[in-house]
């Protein structure tokens, strides 16, 4: 279908695509949202009408071309609509992370100088009101959910429904102006500005043009053969580039339906009800789901347990081959078909993956066991490698060439090169325009020929052409002995254990590596329950000697596996401790996309790092924590430090690395 549209003129912006969809698929569903227990549906023509009404409402407020409009809230059709409405009037939508504390929002809102804000509910409205004195450009806020807001001062506050209604009424007077503004949009107009969470420093506003988004959406939709009848579940933060590409770029290009969950807590139930055909999740979500299944299987009866084990073993053997279309014996196929009926089908149904045709994971490395588990069930789970600056896609795995240790081949229209230090560079139609108000960073990242530095170190496999990523280029360092130090490589191996949620490995410039470990409360809590270990808090469980024993055995297994790698064998973990608190984005220890901020953690827990290298058995520490409402508190703990067995290896200096 999309091939016939390739040459179509006039499709130069998202509002253009919206109008085409209204004509081409008028009554087909564009958005669904579960509300009051029922899936409410908006067709493409209803969506287009509502978005135009919002755009007219914005014109009534006197919005100018080039103004910024911030959008804060969870995935809701109205908020997606608000972004497109902003584009219609020539303004630039800026989606924000809804769980950001007011301080973080203040920086972003001030940096872009947002004049208007779309806020989902009272929580978001309150945050913006808290900081509005520091936002000279801020003028007016529009909210969706009126609950608790009735008594607020409405001089600079409007209800979304009222804006839609007054917009509709103003069509006669402002319709012509709206048409003029839509016609003025072209391929190089800014489509959206997204703030990168950034593992270091302040967030940067990445400016993406219509060209970036539409070209990328088109190429990637064709790569996976996405169709108008596909559906996705939109549950990842709207401020994240991936959600923008999936739920707006690709959805508007191919015309498929975007489904919004009822609330964050009902996501799993909603996933099951919708059973999307196109699905995206970071590895963490797949890990959590697998952990849940395994925990529930522990409680199943012996017959079910044995059946599950028997068929899962078989699936691991032949499942991925069947998915890749390789030759598999008739008996194995029959057994797999029986397994599909007895185990795989019901399991996929329980997970909401019955209809998944294309599934992606990205953002972090995924454990091979986890990856293989889903593939063996017949779920076409693939990996991609991307960045906000690339409008997501840099590389992705084509059907039939899927492996857990690579991130795939360059996406259509993307060129890749590796420089002499091993850093990956790319160039494509999706490459961002600039960092907003930050020419210096733009120049650092993107050169005159359009090549962008990813900041990741990697190499291209010679026989397959697949890209493999080792670590962040700046994190790759040397140890005192001159051996190569790649912390992420070890951390990922540790994190593949369900009991370990997060790990931070230190060792640059040191004679040996040490690690912080975060336990996974769900997995370890369940283990504690089954082993009659009583605990009252996360902190108590994390400090339990038996938990430490278990983590120690994991660390030692990882050491044995790391020792196998010639290049990285020096990165074995000599000493470790289990942290007394979960690393949290609210405390600045993780980014909003839950990536570890290595440097900040190193500084914040300096006493612990020193203790790891100092040789003490235990250490007393005080840590400041930030609660969800922004208040601060303090927790204290005495952590014990354990030595882990390491495999003796010959240290090779860094020159061997390539």
């Amino acid at each position: 279908m999309s091939t016939s549209l390739k040459g179509a003129e006039g499709l130069r912006s998202i509002p253009d695509l919206l109008r085409r969809n209204k004509q081409a698929f008028g009554s087909a569903p564009a958005y669904r949202e579960k509300e009051f227990g029922i899936w409410q549906t908006w067709s493409w023509s209803e969506t287009a009408d509502e978005i135009e009404a919002v755009a007219l409402g914005l014109l009534e407020f006197g919005i100018n071309e080039g103004d910024f409009i911030a959008v804060i809230g969870r995935n809701r059709p109205q908020l997606y609509g608000a972004m497109v409405a902003a584009q219609m009037v020539g303004a630039i939508p800026v989606p924000l992370y809804q769980d950001a504390v007011a301080e973080e929002m203040a920086y972003v809102l001030d940096h872009c100088g947002a004049r208007f804000v779309f806020a989902e509910d009272q929580e978001q409205v309150d945050k913006v009101i808290d900081i509005q004195d520091r936002l000279p450009g801020f003028e007016r806020m529009i909210y969706l959910d009126p609950r608790g807001l009735r008594k607020y001062d409405h001089s600079a506050l409007n209800k979304y429904d009222d804006v839609v209604a007054s917009g509709r009424a103003a069509r006669g007077t402002l319709g012509a102006e709206l048409e003029r503004r839509i016609a003025a949009l072209d391929y190089d107009t800014t489509c959206v500005m997204l703030y990168t969470s950034g593992t270091t420093g302040k967030p940067k506003g990445v400016v993406l043009s219509n060209r970036n988004i539409i070209e990328t959406a088109k190429a990637s939709s064709e790569f996976d053969g996405l169709r108008q009848t596909d559906s996705v579940l939109a549950y990842l933060p709207m401020a994240w580039v991936g959600d923008f590409i999936f739920s707006i770029g690709q959805a508007y290009w191919t015309g498929f339906c975007v489904n919004c969950p009822e609330s964050a807590d009902t996501m799993m139930t909603d996933l099951r009800e919708i059973a999307p055909s196109y699905y995206f999740a970071p590895p963490r979500v797949f890990e959590n789901q697998l952990t849940q299944i395994m925990i529930r299987m522990e409680d199943a009866g012996p017959f079910k347990k044995r059946m599950f084990k028997y068929f899962m073993d078989h699936a691991r053997k032949v499942g991925p081959k069947i998915l890749d279309g390789e030759s598999v014996g008739l008996m194995d196929r029959l057994k797999y078909a029986l397994g599909e009926f007895m185990v795989y089908g019901p399991l996929k149904n329980a997970l909401g993956f019955s209809n998944v045709r294309v599934g992606y994971t990205a953002g972090e490395a995924i454990g091979p066991e986890i990856f293989d588990f889903y593939r063996s069930l017949g779920i076409n789970l693939k990996q991609l490698y991307g960045q906000t600056e690339a409008s997501v896609f840099i590389t992705q795995q084509p059907d039939g060439e899927v492996r857990s240790d690579t991130v795939g081949v360059p996406s259509p229209g993307v060129e890749i090169r590796i420089n002499e230090n091993g850093e990956v560079f790319y160039r494509s139609a999706g490459v961002f325009v600039e960092y907003y108000k930050n020419a210096e960073s733009t120049a650092d990242t993107k050169d005159a020929e359009g090549w962008v530095a990813t900041g990741d170190a990697g190499f291209i496999e010679e026989d397959t052409g697949h890209l493999r990523i080792i670590d962040r280029a700046k994190d790759v360092g040397k140890m005192a002995s001159g051996a190569l130090f790649a912390p992420k490589y070890v951390e990922n191996k540790l994190k593949f254990y369900p009991n370990i949620l997060e790990a931070v490995v230190f060792g640059a410039g040191q004679d040996r590596c040490c690690a912080f470990i975060n336990i996974d409360l769900t997995a370890v809590g369940n283990w504690a329950e089954r082993n009659n270990i009583a605990y009252a808090s996360y902190q108590e469980l994390a400090g339990h000697p038996k938990v430490l024993d278990m983590i120690q055995s994991h660390v030692e297994e990882v050491n044995a596996s790391v020792a196998q790698d010639d290049m990285l064998s020096a990165c074995q973990v000599h000493r470790f401790l289990v942290l007394h608190k979960e690393l949290d984005a609210d405390d600045g220890e993780l980014t909003r996309t839950r990536k570890v901020r290595r440097k900040i953690i190193g500084e914040k827990f300096e006493d612990l790092v020193n203790a790891l290298y100092g040789g003490a058995d235990s250490i007393y520490t005080e840590t400041e924590v930030t609660y969800e409402d922004g208040r601060k508190g303090k927790i204290t703990a005495t952590l014990s430090i354990r030595d882990a067995k390491v495999v003796p290896v010959e240290i090779k200096p860094l020159e061997a690395a390539e």
Binding site: E35, F36, G37, R147, G148, R150, K151, S263, T266
Partner: protein, 270 residues
């Protein structure tokens, strides 16, 4: 406070006229006088707390309001006219809903079904048409379900809609009980120790919901609670009882500085 215009609270809410008035209520169980000649009123739109040490007669008072006990002496004026002796279900039909000190939900039923039972007083169709679920019975159920879903949305329990109540933690059960009471769309909501046994976080959640209910639906709320911090923060006016007698009545500040109340809580020789 016999006026009908009401008053304005500290935070600027307009409180209406008298919704229910207790006049010289006495309740005896044999020789035991549980409640001794108590009079007070509950006004439209206010949050009214009844506090007192254990055994003061608070729950008995709530049971009289809900029609479970009949006062030995005195009378209740509800919406301007004296209320005759009534069964609890008749009182419920008049717009009084309650939650219980010890959770009284149907453990084996889902949250949704439990909350639906709160709509029973609004269902008029006969047993036969309900059994075949056709025509009026069906329309009625759909309309009631809509109300229930709004309550579920309001109390943010969508994720446990289909979960059997028996599997829920205590704090959530309390919230489901509140949901069931709200589903009846009451004009007077009675809460018997809504925070009992909760941790701080659950108490904060519950307090927020109580305030939101009052604010959003204008529901009049009478509550019994032991947590003084909660009572003083939430309520507009407080009645204090001790040994079946009323020893104080007024705004939280007035009550806090009342010597009789201080004595009752700190203890003096009787």
């Amino acid at each position: 406070m016999k006026d009908t215009e009401g008053y304005v609270t500290e935070d600027g809410r307009q409180i209406g006229g008298v919704l229910m008035e207790m006049q010289n209520i006495t309740l005896r169980f044999g020789g035991v006088v549980a409640i001794n000649d108590i009079s007070f009123d509950i006004r439209e739109g206010e949050i009214r707390a009844i506090i007192g040490p254990n055994g003061a007669g608070k729950s008995s008072m709530l049971n009289i309001i809900s029609g479970f006990y009949t006062p030995s002496e005195g009378q209740l004026i509800y919406k301007g006219s004296p209320r005759p002796q009534m069964k609890p279900y008749e009182v419920a039909r008049m717009g009084v809903a309650r939650t219980f000190q010890n959770i009284a939900l149907f453990e084996g039923m889902t949250v949704l079904d439990n909350v639906m039972t709160g709509r029973l007083t609004h269902m008029k169709s006969g047993i036969l048409s309900q059994a075949v679920w056709w025509g009026k019975a069906r329309d009625e159920e759909l309309a009631n379900r809509e109300v229930v879903e709004k309550v579920i949305d309001f109390l943010e329990i969508q994720n446990i809609r289909k979960t059997p109540v028996g599997r829920l933690p205590y704090g959530l059960k309390k919230r489901v009980e509140l949901a069931r009471a709200l589903a009846a769309e009451p004009s007077l909501l009675l809460l018997d120790e809504p925070m009992a046994g909760m941790n701080v976080e659950e108490k904060e959640d519950m307090s927020r919901f109580i305030l939101d209910v009052n604010d959003e639906f204008g529901t009049t709320i009478a509550l019994i609670e032991h947590d003084m911090g909660v009572v003083m923060d939430l309520s507009d006016r407080v009645v204090v009882m001790d040994y079946g007698k009323k020893i104080g009545d007024g705004t939280p500040d007035e009550v806090r500085n009342n010597q009789d109340v201080i004595d009752a809580y700190l203890g003096v020789a009787h």
